[in-house]
Amino acid sequence: MKVLLIIPAYNEAENIEKTVKDVVTNTNYDYIVINDCSKDNTKEVCERNNFHMLSLPINYGLTSAIQVGMKYAYQNNYDIAIQFDGDGQHQAKYLKDLVKEIESGNCEIAIGSRFVNKKKPFSLRMFGSMIISICIKLVTGKKVKDTSSGMRAYNKYAIEQFAKNHSLTPEPDTLVYMMKKGMTVKEVQVEMSEREFGESYLTLFKSAEYMLNVVFSILFIRSTTKKKGGK
């Protein structure tokens, strides 16, 4: 199966080299770095190392970066697309576990989860994650433990959905949409490291806005998704 790693990068000059080298040495999958018009020299670092990179002319945020990656995956006929953070938090050695799950037909979407057989630590962040978990359970009846994990593998059908439906984001509400479309989501235990350099997309101030958006979307918008046709 053709596998593509989508690595979104915004101002990740210090992390991107390590991330891509991790990917190249530990897997033999194709990858694409999506440079979301970084203000630092992410682009130069990628060019110097001859990384496979798609460079957006305007900064449009994480959602747009993932979407363009999905479009690329769709156009180039990939069977599996995996969202993989460019900030060094994800480890490439776990990717094959996600791919294996989809390849064996166990699920359509595999999430690299920190909490399959480990307990969630208690923090404000995890409290938010818990609320989203409860919302997902309410709407779909299924359990997703690590909702905020950015390591997600999608099969061909899900890639097509992403490429065609512009409202899909790389956020938990999209999982609800996909589940409502009849896809199965499975979590695979992975480890994640703390980010070493730079800032996350999610600043503390934006977290509240994020929670509101995701919760509203899950409860009122994605919950009404029809299995076939329409949005």
Binding site: M53, L54, H166
Partner: protein, 113 residues
């Protein structure tokens, strides 16, 4: 409605109408976008001229003062306008995003060749 309010409404509509015309002439406003504003100012004039009709409707609907009814109409009009603008901005946003993606994908395609 008091005479002062009626005069004020007419003057304000007159000037907003003129402003619309001026901006169209300067090509800063598209005619399709300006029509709704001109209609809005015309309806203010109508409300000022036929204030007895406004008063009759306001009383029938149970407003304490007819002027409240005038304000409500204006607020509803503005809310509608912002909502429509919001939809337009969302659509524009999607279009720019698509262009953004298209350019990036095209550049990569040319590079890979």
């Amino acid at each position: 409605m008091s005479i002062t309010l009626r005069v004020l409404l007419i003057i304000a509509s007159f000037f907003s109408f003129l402003l619309c015309l001026k901006r169209i002439k300067q090509e800063k406003l598209k005619i399709t976008n300006s029509v709704v504003w001109m209609l809005g100012s015309l309806s203010l004039v109508l409300m000022a001229v036929f204030s007895n009709v406004v008063e009759w409707i306001a009383v029938k609907l149970g407003f304490i003062a007819p002027v409240n009814f005038v304000f409500l109409v204006m607020i509803a009009f503005l809310l509608m306008q912002t909502f429509i603008d919001n939809i337009r901005i969302s659509a524009l946003n999607e279009k720019i995003k698509d262009l953004n993606h298209y350019i990036a994908l095209k550049e990569l395609e040319d590079e890979d060749k």
